[in-house]
């Protein structure tokens, strides 16, 4: 079971580094604000995007079938996969069919979710992540800490050391331009050797069967266009009905993600080059379970921009790895409990419920409300941590009875004013571990009101 608070505590031990992490992400949030404020119709776009996604989800089977029909007509192989295992086997089967052993992959959170890399590696296949940030964390053998900026938790000096060992860059070199170009030279060799290229999917257009992939580095296109076989992996929620809808989403995605007006490359794959093969794998892996829950199905509108992470005061100060889920941050905290409530019971609490995530979300997912609903789910499934559930039941008794409330209030005011600090701030007072309790007032509001409003009837 994930213990978010404990993992966050470890992250916070290095204060300077935490501050740096916080600032780096806040910088991205500010860039997002500037980009968004350039469009006077931003709020209308959000409303439209949310409407499109909502309408699509309400007739998902219809749109998926239409997408499949168009893709088949385009000469594309369409596969379906129930779960991670199904999906991994499907990818392997395609690779085996071509007797391939060298695979390049551009960013895909779905393949992370399904742990495709370790699966293929066990089968003797070399999988190379080609997004720079993804390659860095692949070298380090760790998961991404952010869905758009996978290596945002690392300092350039650490990457310099890593590249020195893995790529033979100069010892002590940490200049981002030097390191980037070294990694790109290494990856270009991989592109030229790869037999199969795997990508994620940003949008799949039902009307035309187009698979749309957005990158800044150009790694999706280098991989796909160099290899004999291209495989695009999509969750069932990636389908959008019309080409016209693409305009709405491509205007919003990069602005929300990095503060760019659009990603450098917005690639539309429809048909394979004659003699080559194009495959699309449509994956459920728990998404239909979310679709079943009316209070949570809006989370399937997510376009994976990461804006909710960049703005989240908890994410910025606890780091992506503290969530222990493939997708961290606010959106991850409402997606993960849907897949395994017990494992991720902590995540809905990794939030101050300030609502900033919902405010920046380009598709208007009510993230903070869902976080609150998930807390109730955790509670009614009796999965609250023991300390929290005891406190809750005690507090419920006190707060539901006015004479209990007044009596406890009186005791608390007296004790807080008199007890030595050590007695109040100890391991039983979880709230007080990182926070000061308020100054105890001399009297309760009730007493104050009686004294000052003698003539008013209470």
């Amino acid at each position: 079971m994930i213990n978010h608070a404990k993992a966050a505590k470890a992250f916070l031990r290095n204060e300077k580094r935490t501050d740096w992490h916080d600032q780096a992400l806040w910088f991205v949030r500010q860039k997002r604000d500037r980009a968004v404020n350039q469009l006077p119709e931003w709020e209308q776009l959000r409303e439209t995007a949310s409407q499109i996604k909502g309408a699509t989800l309400s007739k998902l089977a219809h749109h998926l079938l239409e997408f499949e029909r168009q893709a088949l007509q385009n000469g594309v192989y369409v596969h379906w996969a129930n779960d991670a295992e199904d999906f991994n086997r499907c990818v392997l089967k395609i690779i085996r069919k071509h007797n391939a052993t060298k695979v390049v992959k551009s960013k895909s959170m779905l393949t992370e979710e399904c742990h495709l890399n370790p699966f293929l590696e066990c089968e003797g296949i070399e999988v190379v992540d080609t997004d720079l940030g993804e390659r860095i964390i692949q070298f380090r053998n760790e998961p991404p800490s952010h869905i758009v900026l996978p290596a945002i938790h690392l300092k350039k000096e650490e990457i310099g050391e890593l590249f020195h060992v893995k790529l033979g860059t100069e010892a002590g070199a940490s200049d981002p331009t030097y390191l980037t170009h070294a990694a790109c030279a290494h990856l270009r060799e991989k592109f030229l050797q790869a037999e199969v290229a795997i990508t994620g999917v940003n949008f799949a257009v039902a009307e035309t069967g187009a698979v749309v992939v957005c990158t800044n580095e150009g790694n999706a296109d280098m991989g796909v266009n160099a290899a004999k076989v291209q495989i695009h992996c999509m969750g069932i929620e990636k389908v959008i009905p019309r080409t016209a809808d693409l305009a709405v989403f491509t205007r919003m995605l990069a602005r929300s993600a990095t503060g760019q007006a659009v990603t450098t490359y917005t690639s539309h794959y429809l048909k394979p080059v004659p003699g080559k093969e194009m495959h699309v794998i449509i994956v459920d892996n728990g998404r239909t379970d979310i679709l079943k829950k009316p209070q949570f199905l809006n989370s399937l509108k997510c376009i994976r921009c990461g804006a909710c992470m960049n703005t989240c005061p908890v994410y910025r100060r606890s780091g992506g790895h503290s969530y222990g889920s493939t997708i961290p941050g606010p959106i991850g905290s409402i997606l993960a409990p849907g897949s395994d409530l017990k494992q991720y019971r902590d995540l809905p609490f990794a939030s101050s419920l300030c609502g900033s995530c919902s405010n920046v979300c380009p598709v208007k997912i009510n993230i903070h409300e869902q976080l609150y609903s998930w807390r109730q789910e955790v509670s009614s499934a009796r999965l609250l941590r023991t300390g929290k559930s005891i406190t809750m039941s005690v507090m419920a008794k006190i707060l539901s009875n006015s004479s209990h409330y007044q009596a406890v209030g009186l005791i608390a005011r007296r004790l807080l004013a008199r007890l030595p600090r050590k007695m109040i701030y100890n391991s039983f007072n979880v709230w007080g571990l990182g926070r000061e309790l308020p100054e105890p007032p001399a009297s309760s509001f009730n007493q104050w009101y009686r004294q000052n409003r003698k003539n008013t009837k209470l």
Binding site: A55, L60, L132, C184, F191, L192, M222, D245, D284
Partner: protein, 187 residues
């Protein structure tokens, strides 16, 4: 085929109330001058901008200023870099000139499709990319751009906005990732 039926049946079994997809209200396209906005967007995306006078010929300009640039006006270069090419040969491409079809003022994106170059990897594998775009093909936003694309004929197309880039190391912007290190746009 089993997974397909399972997934589709699961979705249908939920029986969500259908929500009507609304018609998109497009921003009105007036015949405004989008050129200044386009140039700003290109520069923001890291592209170099060259405005040619009406009498100047783009191909001649490229020949003069970027000697050795490969363009695909001739059948020979089409053959050489198309079916007759190998990846290691394409990997040696230094500078390539391609005609853009549609350009978007709001974000500097230029639409190219593989009808205009012989191998899909060319705009990515080259070190320098030069795109030509006519002011007549300039539209204000992605909405208008998408209506201009002929989807019935399309097999592969890409919007390109600037040279390839990354900021994956400490959020420092580095121009030149896997794709070209520079993009020049001739208007």
């Amino acid at each position: 085929m089993k997974a397909r039926e399972t997934i589709l049946n699961r979705i249908k079994g939920i029986g969500l109330a259908s929500i009507q997809l609304q018609e998109l209200e497009l921003k009105q396209t007036d015949a405004g001058n989008y050129l200044p906005e386009f140039i700003v967007s290109l520069r923001n995306a890291g592209a170099e901008v060259v405005q040619l006078a009406e009498h100047e010929n783009a191909s001649d300009f490229v020949k003069e200023n970027f000697p050795g640039t490969i363009s695909f006006e001739s059948i020979e270069s089409w053959k050489k870099y198309g079916s007759g090419s190998t990846l290691s040969m394409l990997d040696k491409l230094e500078s390539v000139f391609i005609e853009g079809q549609i350009a978007v003022a709001e974000n500097g994106a230029i639409w190219v499709s593989d009808r205009w170059f012989p191998n899909r990897i060319i705009p990515f594998i080259t070190r320098r990319l030069i795109l030509k775009i006519s002011v007549n093909d300039l539209v204000p936003t992605m909405h208008q751009a998408y209506t201009r694309i002929d989807w019935s004929e399309l097999s592969y197309g890409v919007f390109i906005a600037g040279p390839s880039k990354t900021a994956d190391i400490e959020q420092s912007l580095v121009i030149g990732a896997h794709g070209p290190k520079s993009l020049t746009v001739l208007i």
